[in-house]
Every structure is written in C-alpha cells, then in structure tokens.
Symmetry: C2
Subunit: 430 residues, 2 copies
C-alpha cells in the first residue's frame, strides 16, 4: 500500500495510542539501564549510555527507519518525507544522565521523537519532509567540562583541546572514552559542519514554571548559556577551633559563606533590575580527611554556575563575582581565592517561526502553549548556535531536575507530541 | 649510691642536657609512627596509638620506672619520691592525633613529662613526692564523639553509653576498639574514682597568643568546654541550577551560608560584650555523589563547635544558634535544619596555686610566664573536673594546631620543663 500524501488522514485517536505506547515503552526501556541508585546514572560515553543507544537503534530498526551513526557515536534514524530535498526535521535528545539523575531528562525527548515518527508510521502517512530521530551522546556536562559534546561533534564544532578534557570520575580523556565505546576522535575533529536544517527537542522543564501555572507544555524560544568555575578553591589557615581567637582566623568556610550571601544578594538586585540570571553554588567540599569538627578550615573547594539568556548579563555577574572575591580577600586577612578554569556555553535564541507552527498544531486541540526560556542548557542550543532553526517543547515537571525525584506525567508529553504531529500535518513549511 | 634527698644538688646544666635530649628523642620516636601523610595520624585506640604507648613504656623501663596499665590502656610509669604518702604528681598527655595532625599535640606533653622524670633520675635526686608519667588514650574527640576518653576512664567517669559510641571512620564501637587493643571495657565501667592527686600537662598552645607576645611558655588556669553538633544537616530541594528561579529555591548551601555569617556576627557581638567564646564550622559536606555543579543542593551536612570557659556563655551561644536556625527556616521556604546529637565537654578551672609554684621555679631563670586560658580541651580538664589539682604549661606554637604545620621550638619546651623541675626542687608542697 502506498502511503497517503496527507498527514491529516491519520485518525487522531490511533496516533494518540501509538504515541502513548511508544513513550511509555521507550522511557521504561531506557530506565532499565543504570548504575546503582538512588535515581538513574548513565555517564557520558559509558557502556550504559551505549546500551541505551543500542536499545533505541533496535526500536528504530523495528520501525523500518534508516539508521546511521557518526564518528562521535550520535545515532540517527531517518523516516523519509514527502519532499526529500527539503531541510529535514531532526528531533531527539540525549540518554546520558547526571549522577543520580531522574527518569525523564533526555529520555523523554528521545521517547517523544520516537513516538512522533511512530505515529506517522502507524498512520502510514508521510511527513512533509524527512524526520530524523537524533540521539546525541554526552549532553550532561557534569562528566566532562565541555558543553553539548555529541551535538557539537555532529555539527563539526568540537575541538582537539576539548577532546583532551578528562571525565571527572575516571580521569580519562574524552577521546579515550570515545575510543573505548568504538568511536573515532580523529574523525570527529575532521568533521565538517553539515548544512543547517531544523532541530526540535522535547524535554521536561527543569524549573517549576509550567507546573505552577497548571500548563502541560510550553514552547522554548531562548536557552540560557552558562559561565562556570568547576574547581574553585579558597585557602585560609588551618587552626584549632577552640584555641584561635576570632581576629586571628583565616577561615575558608566563613569566607565562602560571605561570597555565597553576597552573590545571592547581587542576583536579587540584578533580577529586580530585569536581568535574566541564575547563580548556583552546587558543590561545596570542606569535608576531606583534613577537615574536622575541631579545626578551623584552611581549605574549601566549590563550584559556581552562572546562567543567563544574555551574554552581557553573564559577563556582569562574573565581574561582580570577582569584585566580591577581591573585597573578601582584602577584608579577611589570610584568605585567598583561586577560581580555576572557566568554562562557558553560549546563550541561544531559538526559532519563533517553528514555535508558531507548533502553536498552530496545538490550537487544533484547543491548547495555547506559552513561550518561555530554558534555564538549562540543551542540545537544541548547539544546533541554534550552528545556524539551525531550532525549537524546544517543554513538558511540566513538578519535582526538581537532575535528581531521582523528577516528575513527569507521560500524558503531558503525549499532548506535546500530538501538537507537533498535528503541526506537521498542517502547514509546517514556512 | 643513695639518691640525694635534695633536688637542688642537681647541676642545672646536666638537667638541661638530659631534658633536651629526652624531649628530642621521644618526639622523634613517636613521630615515626603514623598513617600516611600529610602530617601525622594516629587514631584513638588504633594499632599506631598502641605502638606509640609501647615505645614510651620501653623508655620508662629503661629509666627504671614502675610501669602499669589500667583497664582502658592508659600507661603509668612511677618514679618514687621522698614522701611516698603525699599525693603524687601525675604528668603527661596523649599520643593519639586528629587526622593529618601535627608533630607536637600530645607528643610534646609526654616528652616533657618523661624529660622531667629523666632529669631527676640523671641527677640521682628524689622529687618531693612520687611523679607518675601518665600517657592517656583517645584524647582527640574527632574519632569518637566522647571527650577525654582515656583520662575519664582512669578517673572512673566513662559510661556504658559512651563505650557504645562509634568511631567515625570504622563505625566500630569504643568498646570494640578497646577490646581489639587488648583492654577491658567492662572493667572500665567498674572503675572506681581514684583519690584525687595532682596533674600537670605540658602542651603546645593551640592559638597564637604566646607566639604573638614573644613568650616561650605560659601557665594555664582555665580550659574551655565545648558544646558540639557533629552531624548537623540541612535539607532543601534538589533543583536544576539554570531552570529554577530564585524565589522557588530551597538551597541548602545558601541556608548554610546564612547561618555561618549570622553566628560569626553574634560571636563578634558576644566577644565585644566580654564573653569568652569560639564558634567554628569546621566541616561542611555538600560534595557527595548527589551534588553537582548543575544542581541546587538539596542537602548539606556540617559540624558546629562552640567553646567557652563559661558554661552559661555556651548555653547562650547555643540558644542563639537555635534562634538563627528558626529564623532561616521561617525566611527560606523548604529549608529544614536537623542539629542531631549534641555532645559536651565541661569548662574546667585549673589550680592557681600549682601555677604559682611553677612561676616560682621559672623565676629562678628570670622568667615570668603569663597566666592564660586554653581554647582547646585537654586531659587536664578531666582531672580538674574530677577534683584533682590540675595545671597546664603551654608552649608557644606559631603555625596553627591540629594540622601538619604545627610549629614548636623544642628549646621552649626545655625551658618549661626546667621551670617545673626547679619548682619541684623548691617548695612544691603547699
């Protein structure tokens, strides 16, 4: 039987069932693959990440898609569309997780993309252009101090220097980890940028905005970039807790607390003035074998993560950070900060036209998703920065992110995929 | 040859040489026994602590002293004096260390006591009363959450509940550790308090006061007690660093910083008002596998250590701590503190008459040691609280305490021991 040339002939209730079943099966399948809990742990370029990719490949082959991998191990599975010469719609996400992460970050985007394609297959309908299920590697930058590794490798942006970055747990380089999973770092370096096409990523919202508003999904038109110091350190003077007078102390814990409260105050002021910003000290280590209840801390290590949709805001926040550090060093004798290496990811502007088209699909179900910013970085940012038309669909999540408790109702993701499916049957091409 | 009945017949230059050589040999010998560095680590009731005791026993036997051990493994080595019925002078310290501690804390006190006895032996002179070299076990309360374990065991004060305390690194009970070193926790519980006698402890100053004043040693007439929470915890809400607005956060790191700065301010105010106090947050752990650069911290563990010579000041500082915690919990939605178990050591008043006698010995060398308080807790506090006349001699230290960098000039300890030696040849008995 020749596939119909119009998506509108798919029975919406059939599509909904296929989307629901695919989402449920894919998420459950991927989540059988994890290091010990709590939560789910699939490090970037680990055997577990590779196994998750293999599971998706199997699903894609069962749908009759054309499967390929690039030199970095990104997985692509192509469904032919009506116009094979039009820029394809790449859609997907990643399958690595932070340590002790949740059940949905990444997984839900791969499942949503697979469900979108499955709905076309089940309806025996051709989408207007090729749709390419895109499963990236190594999106979670907690493992290697490099942003969007897989998608930037595909886009020909990864540098030799970045391939030298060490994974925080193993100490092995990104290149070595790629090799150990059967991929080719030299070919990654030689990768030329592909012609820009379109990219769409379903993802749980990593904040509470949609949940608080009682909305199932929203359309993301900007992604915050980051400016980070992953291995900052304070040195002071080790001293006896009871024997050292207040005036004679150089206490790394007190100096750190001073910086945290100062930056929290500055964040409040900048936000008040209309700046888009987050400030986070997510990791604090004054708990080595040298630290003890009866000792004034002479050392402390910490991370700081600044994020904004606006590069100039990031620069200003970074400048405030350095000014506060200088103040603390001058006020607190014996205290010295070392911020260590800075890493960055660029803020990205996504495609408002793509968001408009999805909104028109949503309107067919009486839904009017809000436009919003993403606080977290996502592969969609890498595609947007590389000149692709790129958009994200956020699904509400009521229980934090990058944690075992992430909460997503699969029915919300079904509604988001239905909206995209309808949009593609509508008037997708600009 | 019959020992002379007068200590004054010892040639001071001979005594000084014996004291200097003994101090140097004992400190160097004990410091060959340590876990891997930096610094020196001999945990309480470890094999290393037992080996250090064995080394001192060998020295004591070589001096012809009468050696014994009690049920807790404290080591005693007695030199007979002129009046065998007078209350003996017990003198010594401990040989365990904090993790990655220094070369002098404890060691110097044992070496000084040994040197004092060696000087009498070398001069073939009897001290006015018996002198008992006293090497306690387990003084450093970082290992077990119990203060002055060895000395309180000897004094008949250790409770069955305290014997159940777990060592922080091994998780094994104090009783189990005593057994593993060949001692008898049941006999410790049954120990009756001995008749009070006199106790003298040489120790490095754990603060910078003597060093700053350019004084070699001082006489301690009070010891701060402590009020501690060793396993306090803050719970907040794990969240994505970039995706969670400021108003929606329950950030354990920010809440902790708030408490640290508030207590630092209160400490300043109480000190201004004349209260004797130290406030220390020496260990902060937001560095578990669940913590990451890209996550708002949903948990943080910490220690807090309050010290004062005045019990009522400790109670007021503790009350301030709880008031600040209540304020932070009410101001910061989603934040909850749990202080966990409180442990205490009592402030102790030492013997001014003993200090006077030592000062008279010091005067023979033209020295006038200051009277001062001890910020750190010491075995001398346990003896004082048990009703013994107890005193400490502090030796200047220019480089912090409970750290590998502790600095002590052995010549300063020689001067301190010389002063005590002279005092005992003078008019020691009240």
């Amino acid at each position: 039987m020749t596939p119909s040339r119009s998506a509108t002939t798919t029975d919406p209730s059939d599509a909904e069932r296929v989307i629901r079943e695919t989402i449920s099966r894919v998420i459950a399948g991927v989540n059988t693959l994890s290091d010990s809990g709590p939560g789910w742990t699939r490090p970037s370029y680990s055997d577990l990440e590779s196994k998750a990719h293999a599971l998706i490949e199997k699903e894609a082959l069962a749908l009759g898609l054309e499967v390929s991998r690039d030199a970095a191990g990104n997985l692509f599975a192509r469904l032919a569309g009506q116009d094979r010469t039009a820029p394809a719609l790449f859609t997907g996400s990643h399958l690595d997780t932070v340590s002790q992460g949740g059940a949905y970050d990444g997984q839900a985007g791969v499942a949503g993309a697979m469900a979108l394609i499955a709905a076309f297959r089940a309806g025996n309908v051709l989408p207007p252009m090729d749709i390419v299920l895109t499963v990236t590697r190594a999106e979670e930058s907690v493992w290697f101090p490099v942003s969007y590794i897989g998608s930037r490798a595909y886009l020909g942006k990864l540098t030799a220097e970045e391939l030298d970055a060490k994974r925080v747990d193993t100490g092995q380089s990104l290149a070595a980890h790629m090799c150990s999973q059967g991929y080719d770092p030299e070919a990654v370096i030689a990768t030329k940028a592909p012609d820009p096409a379109q990219f769409l990523e379903f993802h749980i919202e990593q904040g509470p905005v949609l949940h608080a508003a009682g909305e199932a999904y929203g359309l993301v038109t900007a992604i915050r970039g980051g400016l980070r110091y992953r291995s900052a350190r304070i040195t002071g003077q080790w001293a006896h807790s009871g024997g050292t007078p207040r005036a004679d102390r150089a206490d790394a814990v007190v100096a750190f607390s001073d910086l945290v409260l100062a930056m929290d105050r500055i964040w409040g002021e900048m936000q008040e003035a209309g700046d888009d910003l987050t400030v986070t000290f997510g990791r604090v280590d004054a708990a080595t074998s040298a630290h003890a209840m009866a000792k004034v801390a002479g050392e402390l290590e910490f991370c700081v993560d600044l994020r904004s949709t606006d590069l100039s805001v990031l620069e200003r926040a970074d400048s405030h950070l350095k000014t506060e550090i200088a103040r603390i060093e001058s006020e607190r004798s014996g205290i010295a900060f070392s911020l260590g290496a800075q890493s960055r990811s660029r803020p990205a502007t996504l495609s408002r036209p793509m968001a408009e088209r999805i909104a028109r699909g949503a309107a067919r179900f009486g839904e009017a998703p809000r436009r919003m910013s993403s606080g977290g970085g996502h592969d969609a940012a890498a595609f947007a920065v590389a000149g692709w038309d790129s958009v994200m669909v956020f699904v509400r999540n009521w229980n934090g992110s990058h944690c075992p408790e992430e909460g997503m109702n699969e029915a919300d993701l079904v509604r988001a995929v239905m909206a995209v499916h309808a949009a593609l049957g509508n008037d997708w091409q600009p």
